[in-house]
């Protein structure tokens, strides 16, 4: 059917034209929205089914007794009992303590070492590109291979460490490195330091390269020596990265699992049973889902709390206002 187009310039024609562009714009928007939703839905469905749903389910598990050993009984609501139980459990508290010690070792040694290496790599020298590429290697090796690798070093009979110390004349008898509870945790911490130093160094190196050189020139004009330049020019620029490193190392300490699994299995005498390993055992070897979920939530909240605390500290350190 042919619609007679109104005469141009009349009021009717202007209104008609406006209506036409409006509908066109609307359908265009709606089509863009529709395509947009279609493109996003597969990703969101996957992410939410693996994150949001388990998150809620995890909360539910943490306040129930699932009766895993007696599956014919329905789950029993126990309130916060799982949480209080785990906080009263001496082995869990000991694992928390070891994790904190482990984290402090990692932060206390890791950050100064990473800053030193980053400073050394920030000075131009021959082969710098190659050195910078090579130091990344320990970080990208799978965790279980990291464990295997150090197991070959700490081995009491044929290990490289004993071999080296023996040849240097420092020891006469082989030292059973990992069999001594008082030092096993430190040796595991050394492995973790070795594995995480590359990433920390690269983060600090990126921060160092972001410092405008004019600041150093200005500082030396003002008569600042090397130490003062480091204190007043370099350090403030390293603080934001230090916040990130602190958070990464904390998450890392609470998640530490694969190295312990391969290297010590939590032993000897539980001396390397950190919280990540404890959680794995509670959940997947003892099937104590309720308490393990409660513990997982406590770890998540603690990590979050520490992240907020670090933020406060670094903000105060840099003298910035919130």
């Amino acid at each position: 059917m042919l619609v007679k187009y109104p005469r141009q310039g009349t009021r009717v024609e202007i209104a008609y034209r406006r209506a036409q562009t409006a509908t066109r714009r609307l359908t265009f928007r709606r089509r863009r929205q529709l395509v947009g939703i279609l493109l996003v839905v597969p990703s969101l469905a996957l992410i939410f089914s693996v994150m949001l749903y388990p998150l809620l389910y995890s909360l539910w598990i943490s306040v129930y007794d699932l009766n895993v050993t007696t599956p014919w009984l329905p789950p029993r609501f126990v309130g916060l009992e799982n949480y209080t139980d785990i906080l009263k459990e001496p082995t869990a508290l000991a694992a928390f303590g070891r994790t904190i010690l482990f984290g402090l070792i990692g932060i206390g040694f890791g950050i100064p070492l990473a800053i030193s290496l980053a400073l050394a790599l920030n000075r131009p020298f021959r082969l710098r590109g190659i050195v910078r590429a090579l130091i990344i290697i320990p970080w990208v090796i799978p965790g279980t291979v990291q464990g295997l690798l150090w197991a070959r070093i700490y081995d009491p009979h044929y290990g490289a460490l004993n071999g080296l110390l023996y040849q240097l004349g420092i020891i006469r008898e082989p030292v059973p490195w990992l069999l001594e509870p008082s030092r096993a945790l430190f040796l595991v911490a050394l492995v973790n330091l070795w594995a995480t130093l590359p990433l920390m160094t690269l983060l600090y190196l990126a921060a160092l390269q972001g410092i405008p050189p004019e600041l150093y020139e200005a500082a030396s004009l003002d008569g600042a020596d090397g130490i003062r330049q480091f204190r007043y020019v370099t350090l403030p620029f390293l603080l934001p990265i230090t916040l990130i490193v602190l958070i990464l190392k904390t998450i890392d300490a609470f998640a530490l699992f694969d190295i312990v699994y391969v290297l010590t299995g939590g032993g000897p005498a539980r001396s390397t049973e950190v919280i990540g390993y404890y959680l794995f055992q509670a959940a997947f070897q003892r099937s104590d889902y309720g308490r393990a979920s409660a513990l997982a939530w406590l770890i998540a909240l603690l990590t979050l709390g520490l992240a907020v605390l670090y933020r406060r500290l670094t903000l105060r350190g840099s003298g910035a206002e919130e």
């Binding site: 929205q33 996957l46 998150l55 050394a120 799978p142």
Partner: protein, 298 residues
Amino acid sequence: MRPGWSNRWRLWRPVSILHAVVVAGFLLFLLLPVYWLIATSLSSPLALVRMPPEWIPLPPDLTAYRALLTGRADAGSAETLTTFTIRAFQYALRNSVIVAAAVTALALALGFLSAAAFTRLDVPFGHAVIYLILLGQMIPPVVLLIPLYVTATRFGVLDNLLTVIALLTALHLPFVIWILRSYLLTIPKELEEAAQVDGASFPGALLRVTFPLTLPGLVAAGAYTFMQTWNAFLIPLIFTSSDTKRTVTVAVAMFVGRHYTDYALLAAAGVLAFVPPVVFALFFQRYLLHGLASGAVK
């Protein structure tokens, strides 16, 4: 003064010597352990039970690699444990390739489509959704693993590579979306619009104009995802149980757990397990650091 002169002079200043010592010290600390695993994998069984050890395996003994890659143990060590271990490792190597490749491909495909939608089309509540996804990244995976395990048990999808692939894809997808989104934001929309004015459809413009420009971002996100999934341990450990379904990281842990004493074979398995991520990291280092930096900053 000639420039060569001053350079040579500078090389011997105390500061430079200290600098060289520091760099060399760190390099030795980081790389000697790796060297020792490689040396162990190339040693003959006899050399490995000597004290002090032979630091340089000469001539290199390739028996362990031959056994792991061809699946045949030496006639001398034809114990059942060795052949069993070797077969399990070959399955594991194959599974790791499948899982890492599938997760990378899936995460990039889904991530690119989502990132394109978030930056080029109207997604209702797009910003809120993006930040919600990012918030999800903050959840420690341990919190999610118990309910996922319970659910997987109920649906009977344990010990299945597809489950591992789905889980790892979901866990890495948020990061991929975030990197690709920040990458797409730097590419002007006008290029696509120009193509659309010239008669291309939206998918056509996306595929022929935007996609090639996003390649560096895709390479960065892909290299990172591949490394992370290849190195994943907890999820394959929990969600697989049979020797034919394990990934390489789990297989290595199992070997050590069995108190297996063919150290050369163990070390060779370890070397084969770390070669892919290390090669990826060295090859894509520039992309990787750029991707990480843009992911962290934006």
